[in-house]
C-alpha cells in the first residue's frame, strides 16, 4: 500500500526544483572555481582573451606568491649559470630571478596565530560566561545578554579610533597580543550566545545528580557539563575561528609590519610587471580552501552559528 501525502511534492516538481537549484549552485560556484583555477595558470593565460577554461597547469602563481623576484637583463641571466632549483628554473624563463622570500608565509602564520589565539580565549571566556548565564540567577541577566549582543552592532570603524589610541598608549598596536584581545572581544558575543544555547540543552538533572554525589560545582561543570557540550564548543570554536580569519577592517587599520594578517596582505600582492593575478589567486586559494572545508564539516550547525543561535532548525 502506498501512502499518498498532499504535502509531498510530485516527481516533476522535484525535477524542476532540482534543476533550478543546481543551476544556481553552478553559477555561484563559478567565481570560486575561477579563483582556484587562476592560481594554476601562467600569467599570460590568466589575462588571455577569451578567458581560458582549458589551460596548461603551472605552479608559477604559487612560486610567485612565496617569493620576491626581480627582472634582470639577458646577459646577466646567462652569467648566473644554470638554475639550481626547480622553482628557479620556472621563473628564469620569464627573465626574472628569485631574490628572496615574500611576506606571505609570515602573514599567513599571523592569521593562524591570531585566529587560534583569539578562538581559544573566546571559548574559555565564553564557556564560563555561558554556563553562568545558563545555570545561575545572574542579576540583570537579560540586560547583560543584550549588552553582549549589542556590541556586535557597532561598525568596527566607529570604535577603531579610540582602540587605535588605546593600543598605541599600551604598546599593543601591531602586536599579536593586541589583535588576539581585540578579536576575542569581537567574537565574544557570538561565543556566549551560541554556547548558552548549547548548554541550555543539557539537562540540569545530570549536574544535580553529580552534586548529590559529592561533586563541587566546579567539578560538576568540567566533569559533567563540559563533556556534554563538546560538540557545541567545537562548532562555536570553528565559527569564532572563521570570523577572526576573515576579519579585515581592524586588521587593515591597526596592523602593518609585524602582526598583519593575510586578508589585508593578499590584495597587495603585485608581480614584477603589474598585478600578478595567478599569485593573488594562489594566495586566495591557500587562504580560502581551509574555510571551505570547515564549512562543509559545519553544515549542520551553520544556521545556528551565523544567527547567534536565533534560529536552531
Amino acid at each position: 500500500m502506498s501512502t499518498y501525502s498532499v504535502t509531498e511534492p510530485s516527481g516533476r516538481q522535484k525535477w524542476f526544483a532540482g534543476i533550478l537549484v543546481v543551476l544556481y549552485a553552478v553559477i555561484t560556484l563559478l567565481p570560486l572555481l575561477w579563483i582556484i583555477g587562476t592560481g594554476f595558470k601562467s600569467p599570460a593565460d590568466a589575462i588571455a582573451y577569451p578567458p581560458k577554461m582549458i589551460f596548461e597547469p603551472t605552479v608559477e602563481g604559487y612560486v610567485n606568491l612565496f617569493t620576491t623576484r626581480t627582472r634582470v637583463p639577458e646577459e646577466q641571466l646567462k652569467e648566473l649559470g644554470e638554475p639550481t632549483t626547480w622553482y628557479d628554473k620556472l621563473v628564469r624563463k620569464d627573465g626574472v630571478i628569485i631574490t628572496g622570500a615574500s611576506r606571505f608565509a609570515e602573514r599567513f602564520t599571523n592569521s593562524v596565530i591570531i585566529g587560534f589565539g583569539s578562538t581559544v580565549l573566546c571559548i574559555v571566556l565564553g564557556t564560563a560566561a555561558a554556563y553562568a548565564f545558563s545555570r545561575f540567577k545572574v542579576p540583570l541577566k537579560d540586560d547583560l545578554l543584550f549588552f553582549i549582543l549589542s556590541t556586535r552592532m557597532m561598525p568596527p570603524i566607529a570604535v577603531a579610533i579610540p582602540i587605535f589610541l588605546m593600543f598605541r598608549s599600551l604598546g599593543l598596536s601591531d602586536t599579536h597580543a593586541g589583535m588576539i584581545l581585540l578579536y576575542t572581544a569581537v567574537n565574544l558575543s557570538l561565543s556566549v550566545w551560541l554556547l548558552k544555547g548549547f548548554i541550555d540543552e543539557i539537562p540540569v538533572e545530570y549536574e544535580e545528580a553529580a552534586l548529590i554525589d559529592g561533586y563541587t560545582r566546579f567539578q560538576a561543570f568540567y566533569k559533567v557539563v563540559l563533556p556534554q557540550a563538546v560538540t557545541g564548543i567545537a562548532s562555536t570554536a570553528i565559527f569564532c575561528l572563521i570570523f577572526a580569519w576573515n576579519e579585515y577592517a581592524f586588521a587593515v587599520l591597526l596592523t602593518s609590519g609585524n602582526a598583519q594578517t593575510a586578508p589585508p596582505f593578499i590584495p597587495t600582492i603585485i608581480g614584477v610587471s603589474g598585478q600578478d593575478w595567478p599569485a593573488v589567486a594562489a594566495g586566495a586559494t591557500i587562504f580560502l580552501v581551509p574555510v571551505m572545508v570547515f564549512t562543509i564539516l559545519l553544515r549542520k550547525h551553520l544556521l545556528r552559528g551565523i544567527t547567534f543561535g536565533a534560529v536552531r532548525k
Partner: protein
C-alpha cells in the same frame, strides 16, 4: 563536622582549582564566570565607545598630538549633518542596503522554496550554495575586481556571451552608473545563501498537518502559499533582513576592496567615508561624531525593527 588534616590535604590535591573554590557559593561562581567576559567587553567595546563620544565634542587630531585640544560643542555634529557629501554617501548606503536586501530576499526565498521540494541531493547543493558566505569578503572582493575586468574578466565575458555585447565595451567598476550595481551583485552572490538558510529553517518549521487541513478545505495551492507559507515564514524572513541590514550598514571590507568607494565617490558607503575622515584626513574629532551618528542610526533602526518583528511573531 570535624575535618582531620589528612582529609583536608586529600581534598586539596587534584583538582587543585576546584578545591580552592569549593567553599564558593553559586553566586560567587556565577560572578567569577561572567566577570572576565564583561570586563573584556567593557574595555574593548564600551570604553572606546565612550571615548569616541567624548572625542566627538572636540577638535582633536591624532596626527597633531601637541595641538591644543578644544571643546567645540556640537560643531562636529552640525558640520556632518549639513555636509552634502555625507548625505550622498548616506544615499549610496541606502541604495546598496535596499537593493541587496530586495534581491537577497527574492532569490534566497525562491531557492529555499525549491530546496524544500526535497529533491535528491538537496543537502549537497545547499552546502555548495552556502560556501561564498563563509569566505573572507576582502579577499573575495579583491578577486572580483579581476572577474569584472573589461575584456579579460570572466563576468564581462559571460555577460557579453549572453547578451551579444562586446565584453570590453563596459566596465562594472569604472563606470559611474554600473559601479553601485557591481557591489550589489557581489554582496548578493555572497549573502543570498544566508537568507536562503533562514527561510529554509522557516519552511521546515511549518507542520505538514496545516497543509493537509488546507487541502481538505480545498484551498488552491496558490492560496495555500499566500495564506500559510508566507505568513509562517515571515518572522524568519524578517530576522534575516535584520541581520543583513545591520551587516550591510556596517559594510566595509568587501566594497573597499572592490571599488574603494569609486569611481569618484559613487560607491563610498558611510563606513568608507568614515574611514577616510578618521584615518586619511585624521580629523579624529569630526570622525568620532560621524561614528556616533552612524551607531545611533543602526541602533535606532534596529530597535524599531525588532519591535515590528516581535509584533509579527505574536500574531
Amino acid at each position: 563536622m570535624l575535618q582531620s588534616p589528612i582529609d583536608r590535604i586529600a581534598s586539596a590535591t587534584p583538582p587543585a582549582v576546584a578545591a580552592r573554590v569549593k567553599g564558593l557559593s553559586d553566586r560567587a561562581i556565577a560572578w567569577l564566570f561572567v566577570a572576565p567576559s564583561i570586563v573584556l567587553l567593557l574595555a574593548i567595546n564600551i570604553f572606546p565607545l565612550i571615548w569616541t563620544i567624548r572625542l566627538s565634542f572636540t577638535n582633536f587630531r591624532v596626527n597633531r598630538p601637541n595641538a591644543q585640544v578644544e571643546f567645540v560643542g556640537l560643531r562636529n555634529y552640525i558640520n556632518i549633518l549639513t555636509d552634502s557629501d555625507i548625505w550622498l554617501s548616506m544615499q549610496a548606503t541606502a541604495h546598496f542596503l535596499i537593493w541587496t536586501i530586495v534581491l537577497q530576499v527574492l532569490i534566497g526565498f525562491s531557492l529555499a522554496y525549491l530546496i524544500n521540494k526535497k529533491f535528491r541531493g538537496n543537502d549537497l547543493w545547499t552546502t555548495i550554495i552556502v560556501l561564498p558566505m563563509m569566505l573572507s569578503p576582502a579577499v573575495v572582493g579583491n578577486f572580483w575586481t579581476f572577474l569584472y575586468q573589461p575584456q579579460i574578466g570572466l563576468f564581462n565575458y559571460v555577460v557579453g556571451f549572453l547578451t551579444g555585447s562586446d565584453p570590453s565595451s563596459f566596465s562594472m567598476i569604472a563606470n559611474t552608473s554600473l559601479a553601485p550595481w557591481a557591489i550589489i551583485i557581489v554582496d548578493t552572490w555572497m549573502w543570498t545563501p544566508f537568507v536562503m538558510l533562514i527561510c529554509l529553517a522557516g519552511l521546515r518549521s511549518i507542520p505538514p498537518s496545516i497543509y493537509e487541513a488546507a487541502e481538505c478545505d480545498r484551498a488552491s495551492k496558490w492560496r495555500q502559499f499566500w495564506t500559510i507559507t508566507i505568513p509562517m515564514v515571515l518572522p524568519f524572513l524578517m530576522l534575516a533582513v535584520l541581520f543583513r541590514g545591520i551587516e550591510n550598514f556596517k559594510m566595509f571590507d568587501l566594497v573597499v576592496q572592490l571599488t574603494g568607494g569609486g569611481p569618484g565617490s559613487i560607491t563610498e558607503l558611510t563606513s568608507i567615508n568614515l574611514k577616510r575622515a578618521a584615518f586619511e584626513q585624521w580629523r579624529t574629532g569630526y570622525a568620532s561624531a560621524y561614528a556616533v551618528i552612524l551607531f545611533v542610526t543602526v541602533f535606532g533602526l534596529a530597535s524599531i525593527y525588532v519591535k515590528a518583528l516581535n509584533k509579527v511573531k505574536q500574531r
